[in-house]
Symmetry: C2
Amino acid sequence: MALTTELDRVIADRLEQHDMRYTSGRRAIVAALRAIGGPVTLPELLTFSGEVTQSSAYRNLALMQEAGVVRRLVHGADHAHFELAEELTEHHHHLICETCGTVEDFTLDDELERALDDAFVRVAQATGATPTSHLIDVFVVCSNCTAS
Amino acid sequence: MALTTELDRVIADRLEQHDMRYTSGRRAIVAALRAIGGPVTLPELLTFSGEVTQSSAYRNLALMQEAGVVRRLVHGADHAHFELAEELTEHHHHLICETCGTVEDFTLDDELERALDDAFVRVAQATGATPTSHLIDVFVVCSNCTAS
DNA sequence: TTGCTTGCAAATGATTTGCACTGCT
DNA sequence: AGCAGTGCAAATCATTTGCAAGCAA
């Protein structure tokens, strides 16, 4: 199967570095994550991509997370959400509806983001820890749920 | 049983508003959360407070969360973490060790926190949503885990 | 007594895993 | 051939829930 896009190439590389093949099942998952464009639950992913099996989806998402291709988000809701790793897309944060559990992306302007990073490094180092990444969740009641 | 501290009084009030009693089991949970001072998993809580039963602990933590007394934190780790609600303590964020799952609190200075709040309100309203709260997680490798 | 609480044991449900099979390489 | 990947069904395990008994107002 041909590598169609630049993103596919990058992903194929990362997987190779972890001795993983970029199989059609994995392509299907990536394609779905890309098409949907935001964090998705596993059931949503399966619905979108009929060809994918539940256990393989879980397995491949876990492996691809290990390879830095996928990110798993856990909130209070029943299902975890999955999205493409930030390095493959763009650093962003999440708007989470407390009522329906839907997750949307948003970004902060660079200046604020830099100020945060500085603060995080300072805080982490004060405890002797090394910061690796951060996550900002803003909880909301979305327009859908406000209505009802 | 007498109300010993100001915090107990506030908690008793909140529970009453939700038609809940501030029973000894609930006191034990609150006492443990207070004594430990940071986010705790349920097994940790049970170990600390031998008198508490698993199912009652889960039930009471859920109810107290509903009443705004407890906050539940969910990360990738096996167990959720529980802590006293921010309104009873202080607005803060979390430093999470990617390796061992330990969670520690930290705070940001007011100016930065205000800038963030403004940004969040702006972002949320752009989608028609109403922001209610936010959560900042900084992932680290803690000094313990760096060592090993 | 009425109804919130509790403890125990059983149920739930998302996620993981064992195993035999398929298909790259 | 050799080994990663897949699908199915069964196992896990944190968390939830049903139910009968306890206790406060």
